[in-house]
């Protein structure tokens, strides 16, 4: 059912389809050498620079035995001559079996999926969607907690603009979580997501201080609080240290608690946390590769 489907938004996949991807990711983690896509060609089109996501996707493609074409620098393409996204996608879909793309404009991946004759995987369209990140977050949650059901998920930092937390809320809503939102007033969770949770009957609390929730969280999902998001820089200076995690704060946390972060981090997790076994963000990034192998293999029908 995932075969030949584009993955543009996390909402494109049903609960069963998401779980199928997580199961496949576990299979690839247990046995990473599965060259199921020998003879396939996958295009990797990065209209905007990205290190982590591009390397993760391209490693996944290579591990599956596919050959990779594409670009990571839009300045070396016809886009600089004024070629439209439509024409680029029409052309590349003549060549490749699947297109993975990142684009700075929102909605670019949805539009590409309507123009392309082959499936599109969205590797980020502006501030809109980044569904493989959501799936790898879910994979990391399930792997560390043994389940997705009934977890206490704390989200800390920029909950207003952070697309990863919004998509994760949507995806986790199938599994009866309790959310703890910790953010400064300027970066609170938008009302539309709280309405969504109210409609679904999912519990959530809002806090200003991480210390309120560190003892109950199963998952501590940290995000970056960016200075440029504040209209009042004094407010930023006042709150910035409130949203930094230090190792000594973790003594009250549950044994099963794990710290996730979509990366890159810029100071919001102190490096003294890195040695703590509860720090999971580097493994989380590794899980991303297996999750992306699963997405690609499922869409190309290599794993039924």
């Amino acid at each position: 059912m995932i075969k030949n489907k584009s993955l543009v938004s996390i909402n494109d996949f049903s609960k069963d389809e998401m779980l199928r991807i997580l199961d496949l990711a576990a299979d690839f983690e247990a046995n990473p050498d599965q060259p199921l896509l020998t003879g396939k060609i996958i295009a990797s089109l990065f209209f905007e620079p990205s290190t982590r996501t591009r390397l993760s996707f391209e490693t996944a493609m290579n591990r599956l035995g596919a050959r990779v074409i594409g670009f990571s620098d839009v300045n070396a393409t016809s886009t600089t001559k004024g070629e439209t996204l439509k024409d680029t996608i029409k052309m590349v879909s003549n060549y490749a079996d699947l297109i993975v793309m990142r684009h700075p404009l929102e909605g670019a991946a949805r539009y590409a999926s309507e123009q392309s004759s082959v499936p599109i995987v969205n590797a980020g369209d502006g501030a809109n969607q980044h569904p493989s990140q959501t799936l790898l977050d879910m994979y990391s949650i399930r792997k560390t907690q043994g389940t997705l059901q009934n977890l206490n998920i704390a989200m800390v930092g920029d909950l207003k603009y952070g697309r990863t937390v919004h998509s994760l809320i949507m995806a986790m809503s199938y599994f009866n979580p309790t959310f703890y939102f910790v953010a400064p007033d300027e970066l609170r969770m938008p009302q539309e997501y709280k309405n969504f949770l109210d409609d679904k009957g999912i519990k959530y609390e809002e806090h200003h201080d991480m210390a309120d929730i560190l003892h109950i969280a199963d998952i501590l999902y940290m995000t970056r609080v960016q200075k440029e998001r504040f209209s009042d820089l004094l407010e930023y200076e006042r709150v910035k240290n409130t949203y930094v995690l230090h190792n000594d704060m973790l003594s009250v946390s549950k044994d099963n608690m794990r710290i996730l972060h979509p990366l890159p981090r810029v100071g919001e997790i102190s490096t003294d946390v890195d040695q703590n076994p509860k720090a999971y963000f580097f493994e989380q990034a590794r899980n991303g590769m297996f999750t992306r192998m699963a997405i690609i293999a499922a869409i190309l029908g290599a794993k039924e």
């Binding site: 938004s9 996204l85 404009l105 929102e106 909605g107 670019a108 539009y111 502006g126 809109n128």
Partner: protein, 153 residues
Amino acid sequence: MENNDKELKVSAIKEGTVIDHIPAQNLFKVISILGLEKIPNAITFGTNLESKKLGRKSIIKVADRFFEDDDINKIALVAPEAKLNIIKDYKVVEKRIVSLPDEITGYVRCFNPKCITNHEDITPRFSVVGRAPLELKCHYCEKVTSEEHMEIK
């Protein structure tokens, strides 16, 4: 009726359509959405007419032109209370109201400057996610354009 007095201010038509109860400030948007500036028919309109419901209203009379529901529903965005009188031989033979469709394709601009539809030649598409106040969710960037930010293309 009160209405008849107002309508007398604009000359009667023999055959065609009278679009009444248009908010005065949206008259030209209605003309643009229906493409009336591009058709050869005789058209008369009045604007800033008194209306109990709307304060100031506009009215358009198009001779020898009858609209499909799909066309006329497009004006629901800017004239949700508009009423159409279908005129045959100077008499109103049918009255119709407009209703907002579930999907809007074409004539509204997405308010998000980073939306792909504002950068390439793409027909915008929205689903109606709120009716009062009006909220349109972009099919592409998934952002919601609210009534106050709505711009007719």
